[in-house]
Amino acid sequence: MAPTALRRRGVTLTVPEPAARNAVAPALCGAALRAIERAFDRMFGAQANPWRHLGALSFFLFWIVVASGIYVYAFFDPSAAGAFRSVEALAREQPYMGGVARSLHRYASDAFALTVVLHLVRELALGHFRGFRWFSWLSGVPLIWLMIASGVGGYWLVWDELAQFVAIATTEWLDWLPAFGEPLVRNFVAPEAVTDRLFTLLMFLHIGIPLLLLAGMFVHIQRVNYADVGPARALASGTVIALVALSVAKPALSHGAANLALAPQALALDWFYLFFYPLLYGRSAGELWAWAAGLTLLLLLLPAARRGAREPVAEVSLANCNGCARCFADCPYAAIVMRPREGGSERLRAVVLPGWCASCGICAGACPSSTPFRRGEKLVTGIDMPQRPVNALREALERALEAPAPAPRVVAFGCDRAAPVGPLEQPGVTAFGLICVSMLPPSFIEYALRDGADGVLVAACREGECAYRTGERLAVERFAGRREPHLRANVPPARVRLVHAGEGEEAELARALDEFRAELARLPRLAIRPAARWRARHAGHPVKI
């Protein structure tokens, strides 16, 4: 399959066609997930791929639930006698709006539960619960309880047979805990116990718990910059159309009115929220509590398990930090804060919060001091990764460019978490692996071209597949000139190739390199003034221009 090429401010972006069959992932589930996601990329595009934006989709569905809920609430009568009647009237007397709103409220809630669970399973499969991600993981676990409580509470309000079943079953389950003096279920065993005040309380809970859920969702995204909380327009509109169509085709209807003298027999259960009730009666309340508590505990303990050796975190060199805050802006995990300097200087200084740092190196790529054109013998930048400092990258690049090589000479930079660039090494091709592609300051591309390379290939992961959330996107924006530090306009676009090739797409990457070299071979020799540093080092020696 031929790669597709896009042009963004003159830089050629090459996106190989998906090759799910070649997916190689450390874990089987991760590989399966990747295969599914790449298959969906082909049909939806990465930006509208629901699998890549399950969190954003969940936020979006939450807002649909809120909007439809506000409409339903306007017509809801929170009283024992009026609750059922008002919901029925809404569905039957104004099906064009009320029925759709009620159905949308139900189906968006169900879809919300579905996307939240898929989001959890996806992050679990990708191992996104360890290390610096612990906060996002732990803060997400209580949201599952709040989500289920919100959904269950909604079913009580309809006060039909299902509501009666849910109310009694829930209180029977809660009564297993030795926490209530008077059994809660006694509020639902006799008609006179079900009062208007009770419905007011239930209404309050059905508004209060989702508000708590929203607050929890806000906390959940606190440790990520540029949180993905809004899906692409195509994904949002597709989701709305699907749910509205479902609401029209299959309106959500009530069971018969609640009657405490009768026990509901057959129930059209909403399995997204009420899935656990059969276990309550099939087994026991104690067993259900054991399952619920055990699973919750397991999820909470996951971050403590399998904690490997910690990678060194980013380090700030105060003497080289000018307080520009680009690292602060680009850090995907909000692990950098800007604080005042001592001594009353107006400039700020970057401070790394070690516990939150992902060791991705994106900050080093964002730092304007990371430019290799600086003339100092040693390149010390404002913020750097101790395990792979930019100085080491510059030294390795200079050594490689000084060695003779057949034309066209290509320098390849690539993300270690994507298709590795190491295997591309051959006469005329020098490869440098990076922690993340955004660790590469764009000035290195120009530096390589000035100092002898005929072309620079940058290998990034697939769109939306970055192990550090935003690395691939930031690199694209920097190279396209939409983000600082940007690739300078004087860099010949034909000499730079950005290739998106994820793990398992090594063949596509190799093919992209071959095509790039073939194109470079057809270009005239690059006429560009070498960097001053190069000229100083090679004074008296012939320099290729």
């Binding site: 579905l114 003096g181 008077e182 065993v189 597709g238 479902l246 959500a252 057959a266």
Partner: protein, 167 residues
């Protein structure tokens, strides 16, 4: 893949998503109790008698107390367990000893039991003891015809004379 094919596949996938949500939103049907079954609920909240009877304080004891606390009777707070037995068609199906609630064990004893029974006529006998001696001082027996899906609620209200059967 051309644009039309992509949109067509997207449409199919969105429809599949909606169908999945729509189906599991109300299916498969869950059968709470079988069509030939009924439900019996034994549920009440009742405070047992005090474990020890009230005692009249002596004048000396009263004199030692602050003036605002000189109650003539000294009533230990702890209450007796409430024991209840439920028999269905002559067979004991539940015997519950419910301790008083509260840290001082001075609250009401509460009981809730849910029993699924075959629909039809049943002989129900229930008795309760709320005294420290464990003597069953309340007893009730009824022949009830429980239709399929009906709920028989057995409550207890000492002021109303004891057990209350409600259908």
């Amino acid at each position: 893949m051309n644009t039309i094919a992509r949109y067509a596949i997207q449409g199919v996938l969105y429809a599949a998503f909606a169908a999945f949500v729509g189906y599991f939103s109300s299916a498969p049907t869950y059968r709470h109790i079988e069509p030939d079954e009924a439900l019996l609920r034994l549920s009440f909240s009742h405070a047992g008698e005090r474990k020890q009877p009230c005692r009249t304080r002596t004048p000396e004891e009263l004199a030692k107390l602050p003036p605002n606390m000189r109650a003539p009777l000294d009533c230990p707070r702890e209450r007796a367990d409430v024991t209840v037995e439920l028999e269905l068609d002559g067979k004991l199906i539940h015997r519950v000893v419910a301790p008083p609630t509260g840290l001082a064990r001075d609250g009401a004893s509460t009981v809730y039991r849910r029993v699924v029974v075959a629909a039809g006529r049943h002989q129900v006998r229930v008795r309760l003891s709320d005294n420290p001696q464990g003597v069953f001082n309340y007893t009730a027996e009824r022949s009830v015809d429980l239709g399929a899906g009906r709920v028989l609620l057995i409550d207890f209200n000492a002021a109303a004379g004891g057990f209350v059967f409600r259908m």
